[in-house]
């Protein structure tokens, strides 16, 4: 069952994360709304390949949860999980990187968002605030799709003469501004529509999570592009750390708490990466390491050390429980 659980979770998470990460991006959401399905699909493909390592990790976490709830033969399940992890790091991820490169070369505009949609002028007829000032709001009342726009602008910051009418304004696509007689009157008249930003904007707490994940995934890819040794060293150590999280599945007698601890530590692994590549923690670790060890190995060593400690602690606790209990109860205390 373990390979099946892994594969089902992998497919589900690849689909969910890639589709919704693309929908959350204004350019691609707008392309879908405008009927530009190919652009949307290219973006989904690109994101699914980019997010593949993360989805593999999540699929492993769900395999761990599965082992928490179902009786498994350890001598079979553990080698299976290790084999799966090895296969993904050795084959699936390198393959995804080469495909990513091909997609970037062929559809660079689509994957990097340099499309005409990104500079599209807002739909006319609606009152919007302006990025310049919270006191400014405006409406384009032009009836036709013409270059010269009729704009009504309110500058509530002015004590008098707040309502202004500009009959021959011009939209500047490059800067997404509106100009009248070569003077900017509106700071943002195109691109991401502020009317819907509230609905498509990433929640504040997700920002750091996404940023941490992207940092790690980019690091994997950079390491792969720099050479096979560096890639296997970094991705391997990170996946070993993920694998060690399995120990937390049996840390207490309350499975819910165990699951929560696994998820929390999973998040921490991504969060801590930034401290292993720069900053005071990185510098302190470097001071302890012999000079022969390259700087780029610091993150891998930190993750391997974390894995080793967790593994030893897990073995110790399991042995202690085995002394007091027998059978499957030894897994829980």
């Amino acid at each position: 069952m373990i390979p099946l659980v892994f594969l089902i979770n992998l497919v589900v998470w690849v689909c969910v994360l890639s589709v919704f990460s693309v929908l959350g991006s204004y350019i691609y959401l707008n392309s879908l709304i405008d009927g530009n399905i190919p652009l949307f699909l290219i973006a989904v493909c690109y994101r699914s390949l980019f997010l593949l390592p993360l989805c593999i990790m999540i699929a492993f976490i769900f395999v761990f949860f599965y082992t928490m709830r179902h009786k498994t033969v350890l001598f079979i399940s553990i080698p299976l999980i290790v084999a799966l992890a090895g296969a993904t790091v050795l084959f699936a991820m390198p393959l995804s990187y080469s495909l990513l490169g091909k997609l970037e070369n062929r559809f660079s505009d689509a994957v990097f968002g340099n499309t005409t949609i990104s500079g599209k002028m807002f739909d006319s007829g609606y009152i919007r605030g302006d990025s310049w000032s919270t006191k400014v709001s405006w409406i384009d009342i032009s009836k036709e799709d013409i270059q010269k726009r009729s704009i009504i602008l309110i500058d509530a910051g002015k004590t008098t003469n707040a309502l202004l009418f500009y009959s021959n304004s011009m939209y500047i696509r490059a800067s997404r501004t509106m100009e009248f007689n070569s003077t900017e009157i509106i700071g943002q008249a195109g691109g991401e529509d502020p009317l819907f930003t509230r609905y498509t904007r990433l929640p504040a707490f997700l920002g750091p999570i996404v940023s941490d994940v992207v940092t790690v995934l980019n690091a994997f890819r950079s390491a792969f592009e720099s050479g096979a040794y560096g890639y296997f060293w970094l991705a391997g150590s990170f996946f070993i750390a993920i694998g060690v999280l399995w120990i937390f599945c049996f840390s207490t007698g309350w499975r819910m708490l165990n699951a929560l601890l696994v998820l929390s530590f999973f998040r921490m692994l991504f969060y801590c990466y930034q401290f292993t590549v720069s900053g005071p923690v990185y510098e302190s670790i470097k001071r302890f390491l012999p000079s022969i060890v390259p700087d780029s190995s610091v993150p891998s060593l930190v993750y391997l050390a974390f894995s080793g400690l967790c593994f030893l602690a897990g073995i110790g606790i399991f042995m202690k429980r085995k002394i007091t209990h027998s059978g499957p109860e030894a897994f829980y205390d």
Partner: protein, 596 residues
């Protein structure tokens, strides 16, 4: 039952602890905005309540996760099979608990939260007003303008009576006033002075009733009143009405008597008085109520000044009639003296897209609602209006310091906002505020009174929409959604907000069932006791629940934006149908679980 009680205890324990934490957090942290100390405590309390409301979904999910994980571990793990009645009864209990909590959340989120948000923004606005008044008062003191200083500091004291700073400035201003012998500036200001009330006058009279009154007045030798009522009956009667001629006959008889009276006036003074009354009366008949008002006011003042206590009833009555007429087209400048202190909304901007392709753009800096004689009205500060023709060119544009708005009944019975643009002084002829024409030529009929091409009731919806569609009530969103485009608001944005609000309780219910599934899957191990140190990990539950529900809400929001744009015909039903289906699927999934 005991297990359900335990879950209820855990859920409400979450709520109580979180509420206390929110209150402490809001009282410990800086306010983050400028609020005068008189509003600070209540502002912090409301902020705490708003913060707590935002956390309710996560707290509920966390409560269910912990509560049911313990409950399932203790009571059900050995007996539950697929589709078991035990799980069914458990789901029933969880549904009831979830529904009660979700209803509580909806009431708080849709009822209390928007109200509190409005109060919070009012507190911020009042603080700004207070600071502005105080700055203006201090500046006036520096400039030696004691009246302005007294008026502005009185404004500040109206907001914060106990303010030491405002009291000091006010005292200084009063001292300066006493020294200069000026009248206090605040005496000039009254809110919607009683005198501004609409007089009943001849409103609601029928032709027959007016003729009866005219005949009665004729018998009493009250010829002005007889002529007034008979002419009123004449104007009210249709051409085919036989009473029309009758009314004209009485009017002629009364007029003859008035002229006779003028001719037989004995002294020169009587002749002057009679002449003034007649020209005032002529002005009323000619529809020039403003001229009549000042004439009769002048006569009235003169009578009072004689000190004899004799008041001509004709003058009194026609002063009232003239005032009635004036207030149909004008309003008094002193009505708006301190209106800005009571503004319910600020910086209102909307357009009215007319059917002929032209449009009106309106900007109002402040709206103050008022009621007079049971009639709803509003004062609009710094009113700016532009009419754009069907060709997209600006036709004309005006700016008015204050506008008085009434509901105006059209021939078809519909009510439209009628705006009085011309304000006059209550006592002095010639002092007035007129619209400033910024561009073009204002049509003759719209120089004093402007009727907006929109239903009157839509105005309050526009006010609500200008505060931000997120603070609009669900009821307002439903009412405004169909007509939003006419006023320059995006229907799609309103639909997104509406669907999002409707979807939220559904989403919470779905997540509650998911929480039940997780509680079942990751329940407490059989025979395991809840260990004391696990309490330390409990704060992780609401945190992760918050992350989970926020992520799900984010995904739902993006899907809603997509659906609203791709299926504009009926996106509300589609999204709710999808959510219902999702709910059914997860519920079936929950029933289908069994003991491992």
């Amino acid at each position: 039952m005991t297990e359900i009680k335990r879950v209820v205890g855990i859920v409400f324990g979450h709520f109580i602890i979180a509420f206390v934490a929110c209150v402490i957090y809001r009282f410990v942290r800086p306010l983050g905005t400028d609020i005068i100390s008189i509003f600070a405590v209540i502002y912090r309390i409301r902020s705490a309540v708003l913060l707590f409301i935002g956390f309710i979904p996560a707290l509920l999910i966390s409560g269910i996760l912990i509560g049911y994980a313990i409950a399932f571990g203790k009571g059900l793990s050995d007996v539950a099979e697929r589709w078991s009645g035990t799980l069914m009864s458990c789901l029933k209990g969880a549904f009831i608990l979830s529904l009660v909590c979700i209803m509580l959340y909806v009431v708080l989120a849709e009822g209390i939260a928007p109200h509190f948000e409005t109060l919070q923004s009012e507190s911020r606005a009042r603080t700004k007003d207070y600071r502005d008044y105080l700055d203006a008062a201090n500046q006036a003191l520096v400039d030696g303008d004691s009246q302005a200083a007294e008026r502005e500091s009185a404004g500040a004291l109206l907001i914060w009576k106990g303010s030491k700073e405002a009291n000091e400035v006010h005292e200084k201003a009063k001292y300066l006033l006493a020294a200069t012998g000026d009248k206090p500036g605040s005496d000039k200001q009254k809110i919607g002075s009683d005198d501004a009330m609409l007089l009943t006058g001849a409103k609601g009279l029928t032709v027959l009733k007016a003729i009866d009154l005219a005949e009665e007045d004729l018998k009493k030798s009250d010829y002005y009143s007889a002529h007034y009522y008979s002419m009123l009956a004449y104007r009210l009667a249709k051409d085919t009405d036989p009473n029309k001629q009758n009314a004209l006959r009485i009017a002629a008889a009364a007029w003859n008597k008035i002229n006779e009276g003028f001719d037989s006036s004995l002294g020169e003074d009587d002749k002057v008085l009679y002449g003034a009354k007649k020209s005032g009366y002529d002005a009323i008949q000619g529809g020039d109520y403003l001229k009549a008002y000042y004439l009769f006011l002048d006569l009235n003042e003169k009578e009072k000044k004689t000190g004899k206590g004799i008041v001509d009833p004709d003058v009194e009555r026609f002063l009232g009639v003239a005032k009635d007429g004036v207030l149909n087209t004008f309003f008094f400048i002193d009505e708006t003296g301190n209106m800005s202190r009571f503004e319910a909304s600020r910086d209102l901007f909307f357009v009215i897209k007319r059917q002929d392709g032209s449009s009106d753009a309106i900007f109002i800096r402040g709206v103050t609602w008022a009621k007079s004689g049971g009639l709803e009205m509003a004062y609009l500060r710094d009113f700016e209006y532009a009419h754009i023709g069907w060709d997209g060119k600006l036709a004309w544009q005006i700016e008015v310091p204050y506008v008085k708005m009434f509901p105006f009944k059209e021939a078809d019975g519909s009510l439209k906002p009628e705006l009085l643009l011309h304000a006059v002084d209550r006592t002095n002829k010639g002092i007035e505020t007129l619209p400033t024409i910024r561009f073009g030529a204002v049509p003759e009929g719209e120089r004093n009174v402007l009727v907006l091409e929109m239903p009157y009731k839509d105005f309050s919806l526009i006010v609500a929409a200008n505060r931000g569609i997120t603070s609009m009530s669900l009821f307002d969103l439903i009412n405004f959604e169909k007509k939003a485009e006419t006023y320059g608001f995006s229907t799609n944005a309103l639909l997104c907000e509406l669907i999002n609000r409707l979807a939220n309780p559904f989403l919470m219910l779905i997540v509650c069932v998911y929480a039940l599934i997780l509680s079942w899957r990751f329940r407490l191990a059989p025979k395991a006791f809840f260990k004391a140190w696990w309490i330390l990990a409990v704060p992780l539950f609401p945190l992760l629940a918050f992350y989970a529900i926020q992520s799900l809400q984010y995904i739902t929001r993006t899907v809603i934006v997509m659906v609203v744009h791709l299926v504009p015909q009926n996106p509300v039903l589609l999204v709710l149908a999808l959510l219902s289906l999702w709910f059914i699927v997860v519920s079936v999934y929950f029933f289908s679980q069994r003991a491992d």
